[in-house]
């Protein structure tokens, strides 16, 4: 039976159902219901909720729990996510699986509490140092927050990589009906690499450094190969009204919901337009977009930012068609009418 649940609570519940028994976090609006839910529910399942003294501490608590091989999560919002960046780089290098939720809010700076998607660069290009990537999943509904959270733990374990769930103030705060269907999950190898105590086996080290540049390069190449593998197999997207479309929007998360309404409005006017919705922000789903290149006469990225994902769209479109952009910032969201009007102005020459 479906339940009405807030996005933040749904993520927390899904994590518990996925076997996550450790949560470390520091309160920050609009993600606070995640730690609050964990504080309430972890006890009953024998898990641990711990309020860290800061997001810096939280991410390194995650590092510790992940390194011993347990399923672990933290959740935060943009300023807290910024504080975690050093830790993300370390988690990647030590190949520690974990799940991190960023419920994005208005920035830069202390910003505001409204929804944005302006952490896109930080999420997908790496806000910490070095060549690394997190797998970044972008749900667009509370149900998808549940489904992708469960999946995130599997992906993290499977690739020994950090996975980030990119939500925003609207998705985190709103309630929608959700269900928690049991999922089969991936077949996963036992974590023989974990530093969980060397009882009956040779000792393990979980480290993030190398001593010589030669080793450093070899490690980076190996990680690069892993990134290529993820790019090859994990790209995800959903298409809406794309079959006969002449034009296409690209939008994820909250902005994709609004854009879907804009698509319906434009179609009612007889304009054949569709929506290409990335579900993985990293790897950016180039494949599906490439497959539509010969069909689509113009693309338009709709974002709650000054225009960040639009760069990735342009890289794939590579000059074959015009690429427009429309966005709102600072916690504002566009109305579907605005999106439709911007589309007409930029791609139909202001009809």
């Amino acid at each position: 039976m479906a339940l009405l649940m807030k996005g933040n609570e749904a993520i927390a519940e899904a994590a518990i159902q996925a076997g996550c028994r450790l949560f470390y976090g520091y309160p920050i609006t609009p993600s606070t219901e995640i730690p609050e839910y964990m504080a309430k529910k972890m006890k009953a399942v024998g898990g641990t909720y711990l309020q860290a003294e800061s997001e810096i501490a939280a991410i390194y608590m995650v590092y510790g729990a992940g390194a011993v091989g347990e399923r672990v999560m933290t959740g935060t919002s943009s300023p807290g996510f910024s504080l975690m960046q050093e830790g993300l780089s370390f988690l990647f290098a030590a190949e520690i699986p974990c799940v991190i939720v960023d419920v994005m809010r208005g920035g830069p700076g202390l910003g505001g509490l409204g929804p944005t998607q302006a952490d896109y660069f930080q999420l997908t290009k790496g806000g910490g140092h070095g060549d690394y990537h997190a797998i970044v999943l972008a749900p667009f509904s509370v149900q998808e927050m549940v489904d992708l959270t469960k999946e995130a733990f599997d992906l993290a374990d499977y690739y020994r990589n950090l996975v980030i769930i990119a939500a925003d103030g609207i998705l985190g705060q709103m309630m929608e009906p959700v269900e928690f269907p049991p999922v089969a999950g991936r077949k996963l190898e036992p974590k023989t690499w974990a530093a969980s105590g060397a009882e009956g086996r040779p000792k393990n080290n979980v480290l993030s450094y190398y001593l010589t540049p030669e080793l450093g390069e070899a490690e980076n190449l190996r990680w690069g190969e892993k990134m290529s593998r993820i790019k090859e197999t994990e790209q995800r997207f959903v298409e809406y009204e794309m079959e006969d479309a002449d034009y296409a929007f690209v939008a994820f998360g909250t902005s994709s919901r609004i854009t879907e309404t804009a698509v319906d409005m434009l179609r009612e006017e007889g304009i054949k337009v569709g929506l290409y919705r990335p579900v993985t922000l990293w790897p950016f789903p180039e494949k599906g977009l490439t497959a539509r290149l010969n069909q689509i006469k113009g693309w338009m990225s709709i974002e709650l930012s000054a225009g960040q994902m639009v760069d990735d769209v342009k890289l794939v479109v590579n000059g074959k068609a015009p690429v427009g952009f429309y966005g709102r910032q600072g916690g504002m969201t566009p109305e579907p009418e605005e999106v439709a009007a911007a589309f007409k102005a930029q791609l139909l020459g202001g009809e």
Binding site: P30, I170, M175, R257, E260, D264
Partner: protein
């Protein structure tokens, strides 16, 4: 029943239970197999003690859960009246708790229903259910889900203690009855 997409705003001060009646409405929408979203005001917007939430009920997938221009709004105190009266779409309905909101300049292009729900609830012996009385009023005048579905939703969310459930059911009925005399 009525149009394919209905947008609601429920507003008042903290403790008046406006988030709760929003949830009941969303739950009822869900029970009647429609798409629903419920979205609260959060963060510093809540300072000063005001609270409000937006509910969307639709036969199709809902884009944004935020509601700038409600079709139907309930305002339980004066601050909310001022905040939301201009936002209601022309032809929409505004339900005003006249126990807390004095006669004020209104609008010609919307229907304004004034009900002293605090007094009605008080007569029932529990002023706390003024919100539920208002829900009953709204259901009688601008229903978007069936009566029994809304009642079921109310029971699912409020019905943990039998006395409370009964009180809520009575408050809901009282609101409906009152509204019937208004029509």
């Amino acid at each position: 029943m009525s149009s394919a997409l209905t947008k609601y705003k429920f507003a008042g001060f903290g403790g008046q239970g406006v988030l709760f009646i929003g949830k009941v409405m969303a739950q009822a929408g869900m029970l009647s197999k429609q798409q629903v979203t419920w979205f609260p005001a959060y963060g510093p917007e809540m300072r000063g003690g005001t609270a409000h939430c937006s509910v969307v009920i639709s036969t199709k997938r809902i884009g944004s859960p935020t509601v700038g221009k409600p079709d139907i709004a309930i305002v339980m105190n004066e601050a909310s009246y001022h905040k939301f009266i201009d936002s209601v779409v022309p032809g929409g309905t505004l339900y005003v708790n006249s126990s807390m909101v004095p006669e004020l300049p209104g609008r010609e292009d919307i229907r304004i229903v004034r009900v002293s729900v605090n007094e009605i609830a008080h007569e029932m012996g529990e002023e706390k259910v003024a919100n539920i009385v208002m829900l009953g009023v709204m259901q009688a005048i601008t229903p978007t889900v069936a009566d029994d579905v809304l009642e079921k939703a109310l029971m699912e969310l409020a019905g943990k203690k039998p006395e409370l459930a009964a009180l809520n059911a009575r408050a809901f009925k009282a609101g409906q009855e009152y509204a019937k005399n208004l029509c």
